[in-house]
Amino acid sequence: MTLWRGIWAAVALLALGLTIFATLPAGLLGPPQSMQLPFAKWLTAGMKWLTDSAAIGPVTVKDLTRAFASVIEAPYKVVKVLLVDGITEGRGRRATTIIPPLSWVAVTVAAVALGHFARNIWLGLLAGALMTYLAVFGQWDSAMVTLASIAIAVPLGVLGGMAQGIAAWRWPWVERVLSPVLDLMQTIPTFAFLVPILVLFGFGPVAALLATIIYAMPPMVRVTIVALRAVPSEIVDFSNMAGCTPWQRMRKVMLPVALPDLMVGVNQVIMLSLNMVIIASMIGAGGLGADVLESLRRLNIGGGIEAGLAITALAVVLDRLGQAMSERVASVEVRKGNWWRRHPRTALVLVVALVTGALGFLIPILQDWPKAWEITTKPFWSDLIEHINVNYFDQLEAVRVWFLEALLLPVKRFFLALPWPFLLAVLTLAGWRLGGIRLSAVVLALGLFVAATGLWEQAMITVYLCGLSVVIAMAIGVPMGILAASNETAGKVIGTVVDTLQTLPSFVYLIPVVMLFRVGDFSAMIAVVLFALVPAVKYTAHGLRSVPDELIEAGVVCGCTRVQILRKVRLPLAVPMILLGLNQTILLALSMLVITALVGTRDLGQEVYAALATADVGRGLVAGLSVAAIAIIADRLIGAAAGRARARLEGV
């Protein structure tokens, strides 16, 4: 133990010495030109081949992908007619409505009915209130466009994820193939695969839908594998004895037993789909995401916040309904009588839809919430930012300058001055120490890949920006998590704040941050910290809460004070969970890179963004893969550390 401490101390000293005192030849600072490989050219050429000439028999790949796109487009169009367009004659300005879309009253009543069905009337009223909020704040039309795409993306993501999960559960080789693919899907910045999707699947809502599905599906696959594995073997044995075919066993036994766990995955798919709303709107999804982007481009901060909160409202409705569904006791109430007696809620919703649709021609308020009654808080937000800007700018500027000079710039210089062979050696050593020869080989290979892309400097800026943000996020998040776990009221307040932060699109706070702190690394850091804070808080709180009561009681019996129990019992036991939180914090920080590129950082995110703006497939993918490589290195090293921590705890 002491030997390793000595080694790490020596490494740290050597790093400091190298960066401060040594003047190194350029070949040591960044990888030399001779070892860089033209990955971008290869990928661009590969993509061109795929779209222009690749074919399976007589059918070209492009035809296949286009056919696939139209299969997805059909149900999307149906939902959109139902929620947004209605049936009209003519197009654009000449359109006249023949049959209107579902009225806001009907959709709201449907939300209430769903809430009542899933749990009780209170949940129904919450859902109804949030839907009314959308109407009152004038977000209804956009919200329905977003809802229509979510309504297609979520079921497809869930079904696709479950299918892959089931396949991986049945055939181990599928899992071996899928696992690295899932890692990449989760870590490559979404911008990097937008251009290939556009080329293969055409422009418009379908491409946006597909990008959403790709982004939101991986957790579903993982959850399905875990959930199926967790089904008790007695139940599986029993179904075999009862003579089930494999298909029957899956459908009637395994999936129902695994349902509560599967619903966790569904919840994740919903949340991630809503996370993608803004980015999807850049390639044609429309709806609330487009509203946020457009407002912020016009510096209509209030408009951006309102549309952003509408996304949060939709997320809360879908999340709470989904959770209630998963917890719903399978007590099927058997009702007798006619169809409408057996299905009173469905009947009610249908009646309301038809009545409001028909009466809407006479009483327009039933169909659309009148414009004159809309409430807006836009001036409030704009005035608030202006007030802070005019009156407190000097103080804010002082804070910014302090952070820049004391923290950001020294760390940045340190990383840029670190010789690359040295950094790779340290990483490999850490991999060997934590996970043996295999892990060190993986880490070295990924590091060499980044070195060979020729994006070393951008990668180092990425490491510096994300690393610092993660440290700050943990420094704020862990105490918040401790507070949330030890005090119920504080827990509720912090929980609400964290949930809002997770679903509120980061764009919404990015622009006010720029107004107060200018473009540059400091604004980017604030945005990353705000976004990456969430898992730090959640996992810490969860880890502390799940410490067994007996151990805490044992501590109390021993005469520990509250602080001692926290320090000596609860925190050490929560370490594996907190490390998992750290892991997630790093992944989220990396996923924010592309967004921060929008305020002028010069990291890998900027490279991805620039590639998107020039439709350069290879360049974007290479930068995206470099981000993925950094993420996977961090993930594996911390995962191994968490494993060791857990083993140590269990060994005690």
Binding site: I87, I98, I99, G204, V514, M515, G520
Partner: protein, 312 residues
């Protein structure tokens, strides 16, 4: 009863199609929408005109530069605003593939240059002449750039050769690149509220020079030689020792457009707007908060005599 409803709808849909049979094809013409207000107005006006002529139009959100593969493959049909200042290379490359054709100029002129709010002129009376910039460098400086002045350039992807310009003209300034134009104008708004010094890249037609009072810096006028030949211009050793080029805003489209919808192609080619009209409309949307549809309707009513000649 159950059957009759869909049938009635189908009948209506078919009759709607029949009513438009006078145009060459009722397939929707796809116009691309980008992310700045002027382009949205231009495209919506064009769409309205084409719809008046009986065509079906679909508006598709697409990235400014990423749209070209879509136009080449015929997924998208018309791009209404391609600025010579920012999209010239991409447009020329796309036209060179033979799958994209130019549809002429929009009549508007793009201008991009260094810009400062009018209150800065009191503190730096030598402006707008570029030679005054160095005298005021300290005024434009911030802690991270001092003693150099801070110039907020556009996103890296916009190009513009500002880093080269600063060196060639010996300007004591540091170029800070904004990531997006939203971030850039957020800084301008913030500075304007406080009457604080700011010097940045602005382009027109845009709402910012309408909402905020200010002036363009006057550099030595642009010539192609100044960009290509180091010996030309103020600095005999370096290129880019002059201002930025101004240029037309072009329309382009899919090569098959003219064959499939000849009337529409003619109308798109005839489309013309002036900088003044566009500036006024952008101001109505971005400064006064009018809806784009209302602004488009207003233009359509006021200019009926103009656009009817385009679709004859």
């Amino acid at each position: 009863m159950r059957m009759r409803h869909p049938m009635a709808i189908a009948a209506l849909v078919f009759s709607a199609g029949a009513a438009m049979a006078e145009v060459e094809s009722t397939d929707p013409i796809k116009l691309t929408l980008h992310d700045w207000t002027g382009q949205l107005i231009t495209t919506n006006i064009m769409a309205a005109i084409l719809e008046e002529a009986g065509y079906n139009v679909e508006l598709v959100q697409a990235d400014y530069l990423a749209q070209f593969p879509g136009i080449e493959s015929g997924d998208l049909h018309v791009a209404m605003e391609l600025w010579a200042t920012t999209a010239a290379e991409a447009m020329d490359a796309s036209i060179a593939t033979g799958n994209t054709v130019s549809l002429g100029e929009t009549g508007m002129q793009a201008k991009e240059e260094w810009w400062y709010p009018i209150y800065m002129k009191e503190q730096c009376p030598g402006l707008p002449d570029w030679k005054a910039l160095n005298d005021c460098a300290e005024m434009f400086a911030t802690p991270d750039t001092a003693p150099k002045g801070r110039y907020l350039g556009g996103p890296v992807t916009w190009g513009g050769y500002d880093d080269e310009r600063v060196v060639a003209l010996g300007l004591n300034y540091e170029v800070i690149h904004a990531g997006t134009d939203a971030a850039m104008f957020a800084e301008l708004e913030s500075a304007y509220q406080r009457k604080a010094p700011i010097l940045l890249w602005i382009y027109a037609p845009h709402w910012a020079p309408i909402k905020f009072e200010g002036e363009w810096v006057e550099f030595p006028p642009y010539t192609p030689e100044c960009y290509n030949d180091p010996s030309v211009g103020v600095n005999p050793d370096l290129a880019y020792d002059c201002g930025k080029p101004t240029g037309g805003i072009f329309k382009a489209g899919w090569v098959g457009l003219e064959g499939k919808w000849p009337g529409a192609a003619k109308a798109i080619k005839a489309f013309k707007l002036t900088n003044e009209d566009m500036g006024a409309m952008v101001g109505k949307v971005d400064v006064d908060g009018m809806a784009i549809e209302d602004v488009v309707d207003e233009w359509m009513t006021a200019n009926e005599a103009v656009w009817t000649t385009w679709i004859q």
